[in-house]
């Protein structure tokens, strides 16, 4: 088995052992899903649909976003910068594996573990309480699965890039908090972008978070189909490529700086 797959497997297993944390996280997400769903239902107030989004779609949105939080870990990830600050990175760089793919493997394992043990049960329980919209066709399911995998790649590359700041500044934690907070707000995770004023929704869609996180949701809810769906996937691919390239470039500069200065 390649080291990459081995890393994924180890990380996956490890994620499964965090029983208490997973259950707590699940319950927390579930409650927030209920809260958000309630707010949306109250907002809609007997209306059938707003801007193409039905009440049922909005409720599904509330459940789906909470489901994906644990999986994408979008708003909170400082692991890599910790290793820069505590010096662990020295040992990691000496190992005979690619630094970036190492962290990628860990994240994929973690994400799949979270998907299995947190996201899936969460969504199933949520579905017991509310009528939800499900993808209608096999193709739609396929597109969704592909799209959330891409979303993970975008999420990881973005988080990794933010963590790279640690090579240059001791304030990376504060920067990270700020950037992750911003990502949160523009990802459409709080209220559906369909309910936002047009200009705000457009802007959010241009960001990597909007593309990374919101497009899968739109696919799931059937808000984008056919040509638009394809466009969505392509936008995701675009972001993946861009962020990966940026990551590689910034990482190499960062490592060089570290090695030269002995940070």
């Amino acid at each position: 088995m390649s080291p990459f797959l081995a890393t994924i497997r180890t990380s996956f297993r490890r994620q499964l052992t965090y029983r208490a944390a997973n259950i707590s996280g699940l319950l927390t997400n579930l409650m927030f899903a209920f809260f958000r769903a309630s707010v949306l239902i109250a907002l809609f107030n007997e209306r059938e649909a707003v801007n193409g989004l039905t009440v049922q779609g909005a409720v599904t949105y509330a459940g789906l976003t909470q489901t994906l939080i644990g999986y994408l870990s979008f708003f909170h990830w400082f692991d890599m910068m910790q290793t820069v600050y505590d010096g662990q990175i020295g040992a990691d760089l000496l190992r005979p594996l690619n630094f970036f793919t190492y962290w990628l493997g860990i994240d994929i394992g973690r994400a799949f573990g979270a998907l299995l043990i947190r996201s899936l049960p969460l969504f199933l329980v949520f579905a017991l309480f509310y009528n939800i919209t499900l993808p209608g066709s096999f193709l739609q399911w396929l597109a969704f699965i592909l799209s959330i995998f891409f979303a993970l790649l975008i999420s990881f590359s973005w988080r990794f890039m933010v963590n790279l700041a640690a090579f240059w500044t001791p304030n990376a934690l504060g920067i990270g908090r700020f950037v992750f907070g911003m990502s949160w707000t523009f990802s459409g995770f709080f209220l559906p972008l369909a309910l936002f004023p047009r200009w705000l929704a457009q802007f959010a869609r241009l960001t990597p978070f909007g593309a990374g996180v919101y497009i899968p949701i739109e696919i799931f809810l059937g808000l984008i189909t056919g040509k638009e769906l394809l466009q969505g996937i392509l936008i995701q691919v675009f972001w993946i490529i861009l962020l990966l390239l940026l990551d590689q470039w910034i990482l190499s500069r960062g490592v060089r700086k570290l090695v030269i200065q002995g940070g």
């Binding site: 504060g174 709080f190 936002f196």
Partner: protein, 269 residues
């Protein structure tokens, strides 16, 4: 007593001093928390423009209660952050709690003084702005009682949230794991309290009435202050229970905390 408070003030001052050592970091953190949380409200406000009202409450009315809650939570988070899991957890894990027991000072005070996060000022400011925004959009029949009740409500909320933090910290004596579930009642509670609670389905309302009495610290007082009709048909006096419930919760939390310390001393961590 005076000495104890002076000590607490001194400990806070030391915290503030060390946090201000990195002014850039501090400003950024301050702005970021204010902006991010503020954006939540902005997003909601913009969305609400499509719908006129939520549960029969206008934007101004929601802003009124949202703002007070945010302000109180931010203040609490600044003062009680010694009890926050992120701060207290390491104290227990690293065995530093023993040090608190070895000093001739009140334990609760030492924990309070162990952390004072001034960047929470961001959340406090955000809350205040939202509250003022709400005020600007509503017509209230102001009476002296109402004017006095607003700050009283805020103080009650601060003590209420603080109690939850204390309870959360106490559980750390027994389980080293983070009880994220408590987040449902602190952060989740704050979110739920920012809306007119009658929009929530019955099970959620029951939780926030009988399990954690958040409803008495936001919805019912707001119904009185804003003069809104109450679809839940609760008797009028419940609007004034906020301070009572807050004091009760604080008392319970401190009892539990003291129990936790005694237990720590007999089981030797």
């Amino acid at each position: 007593m005076i000495h104890a408070l002076r000590l607490l003030a001194r400990m806070y001052r030391v915290q503030i001093h060390s946090q201000l050592q990195y002014p850039l970091s501090f400003i950024m953190d301050l702005l970021s928390s204010a902006l991010i949380l503020g954006f939540f409200f902005v997003a909601f406000a913009l969305t609400l423009t499509r719908f006129e009202s939520i549960g029969g409450w206008t934007l101004g009315e929601v802003a009124f209660i949202w703002g007070i809650t945010e302000f109180s939570f931010g203040t609490m988070d600044m003062v009680f952050s010694g009890f926050d899991y992120d701060s207290f957890g390491p104290i227990i894990r690293k065995g530093q709690f023993d040090q608190l027991l070895l000093r001739p000072a009140n334990i609760t005070l030492q924990v309070l003084g162990s952390r004072f996060v001034i960047r929470r000022l961001g959340r406090m400011a955000e809350g205040l702005l939202i509250f003022l925004f709400g005020l600007s959009r509503i017509q209230l029949d102001w009476s002296l009682l109402k004017i006095l009740y607003v700050p009283l409500l805020s103080i009650s909320q601060i003590l209420f949230f603080g109690s939850l933090f204390i309870i959360g910290a106490t559980t750390t004596f027994w389980t080293m794991e983070r009880l994220e579930i408590l987040n449902i009642f602190t952060y989740g509670g704050a979110e739920v309290m920012s809306y007119p609670m009658h929009i929530f389905p019955r099970p959620i309302r029951m939780i926030f009435t009988y399990l954690v009495p958040s409803i008495f610290l936001s919805y019912f007082p707001a119904v009185y202050l804003l003069g809104k009709p109450d679809p839940l048909n609760a008797p009028a006096f419940v609007s004034f229970l906020a301070p009572v419930i807050a004091m009760l919760m604080l008392w319970l939390a401190l009892r539990f905390w003291r129990f936790g310390i005694r237990n720590y001393q007999s089981s030797g961590s």
